[in-house]
Symmetry: C2
DNA sequence: ACTTACCGTAAGTACAAACTTACCATTAGT
DNA sequence: ACTAATGGTAAGTTTGTACTTACGGTAAGT
């Protein structure tokens, strides 16, 4: 399973997107990530594991707390996947358009 | 449900990513999209609906054939979502780093 | 008009994965 | 040493969703 595949799978879940977005402004401990969420803390832990394996977040310990923060690797993987569609899709679109249109 | 949310949900499924990638090089009719896939054609139709509602693909008819092609809207939505993480996550990372490091 | 090719939708099933509770491990503080 | 705080994992349940088959509907060809 490629890097971007894991990332797309991970962000395919709404709850994981919410968790991911919580880390946008600053790193957070698990307790704080779980705050306000309607699911149990173990469920949050399981989501964090998926996000971590997709390299969308990274962890570092601080005493008894596990601090999670955004990891750029996963984001980069998704970006380049999407970019790989960009030009080729545009070319495909053009060639399709040129069948009905005529010049320029 | 926002535009990017639908797109992430759509590309969260491996089969839909395969279908999406099949359209990378050129637009295709449903029959050709289903070729080589191990699922039934109606299943493909259902996936196409999800991708279409996420604005990741668009459709245009050609006789009795329904031709699908990449739609840039969905890709753009995902890109800007990811980009919105870019700077802020970087800033968060920096501020975290500055606590342990000291200058520059 | 009839047949063939193409494809979407409905309804029901089966399975993956998102949950829960229960438990255990580690660290910090007293 | 004991307690409290933090959080990961195991096992089992439940639910969402990716499938299937069956059907209907439209367009093109004869």
């Amino acid at each position: 399973m490629s890097s971007s595949e894991k990332a797309f799978n991970a962000l395919g879940d709404p709850t994981r997107r919410i968790i991911f977005e919580k880390l946008r402004t600053s790193p957070l401990a698990v307790v704080h990530i779980a705050e306000g969420l309607s699911i149990s803390r173990p469920a949050v832990s399981q989501h964090l594991k998926v996000l971590r394996e997709a390299k969308l977040i990274s962890i570092h310990q601080q005493g008894t707390k596990n601090i999670y923060q955004i990891d750029q690797q996963g984001i980069l993987a998704m970006r380049s996947y999407l970019d790989s569609f960009w030009d080729t899709a545009l070319a495909a679109f053009k060639s399709a358009a040129e069948k009905t249109e005529d010049h320029e």
